[in-house]
Symmetry: C2
DNA sequence: ATAATATGCAACTAAATGGTTGCCTATTCA
DNA sequence: TGAATAGGCAACCATTTAGTTGCATATTAT
């Protein structure tokens, strides 16, 4: 369960959209997740595979179809072990920026 | 300032390490950020360029050297506009998982 | 003035990535 | 039983990516 795999998985917009879809409705089949997508089913399968490898998605078979469920744990860990570190020192970093760049515009 | 650029930038471990270094000590020069790195200065420059494009890092010239500062805003936005959505429904998703997979182990 | 230092820029390369097509298997429905 | 549906798997392709080497420029130190 490497954090790197999670970050990599989140680095692609198609995959984030798949997560968003599952967030909107959990437990969808592959077919459902393909609807209205402008890539082939096989491409979607690959993306879902990467999400599964990162443990962001967990699947279950029901007959001939495959159900996809969101696993909130890895995102929580990213929030907790990585993002939060930067959030804690946020105001400090902002004041550093002001100090260094006051008066300067980026044009 | 697209969120996609931020996610992409965070998707590489070398770039996250650069951010971590700046988090540990803000305002480092390119040379300093290269110390102990097992890639060339030019490779580091490219990574820093991607971080700059994503607005995660802001730079300033001091004589012949370039100082690098962390910009906490994009990470905050990711936390606020993306991560938090999943954090809110976290317990719900966990109970979904339990419901679907109780009794099953992944071995 | 010269040498050393700090960085910039461009061309090139290997490997990873995101996508495709084609075909096969398993389950369900009529 | 046969057709339709849901998905799996492998080979292939184009582009992007992460890195390199080589050289140029600007600033500082002697």
């Amino acid at each position: 369960m490497s954090m790197d795999a999670v970050f990599k998985a989140l680095g692609d917009p198609s995959r984030r959209e798949l997560l968003d879809r599952l967030h909107a409705r959990n437990g969808q089949t592959l077919g459902e997740l393909c609807e209205g997508q402008d890539m082939t089913r096989q491409a979607v399968t690959k993306h879902l595979g990467i999400l599964e490898d990162a443990n962001l998605v967990v699947t279950r078979k029901r007959g001939r179809e495959k159900l996809h469920y969101l696993n909130p744990v890895p995102i929580h860990e990213v929030a907790d072990r990585w993002i939060s570190k930067y959030e804690r020192s946020r105001l400090r970093a902002l004041s550093d920026l002001k100090k260094q760049f006051e008066g300067k515009t980026e044009n």
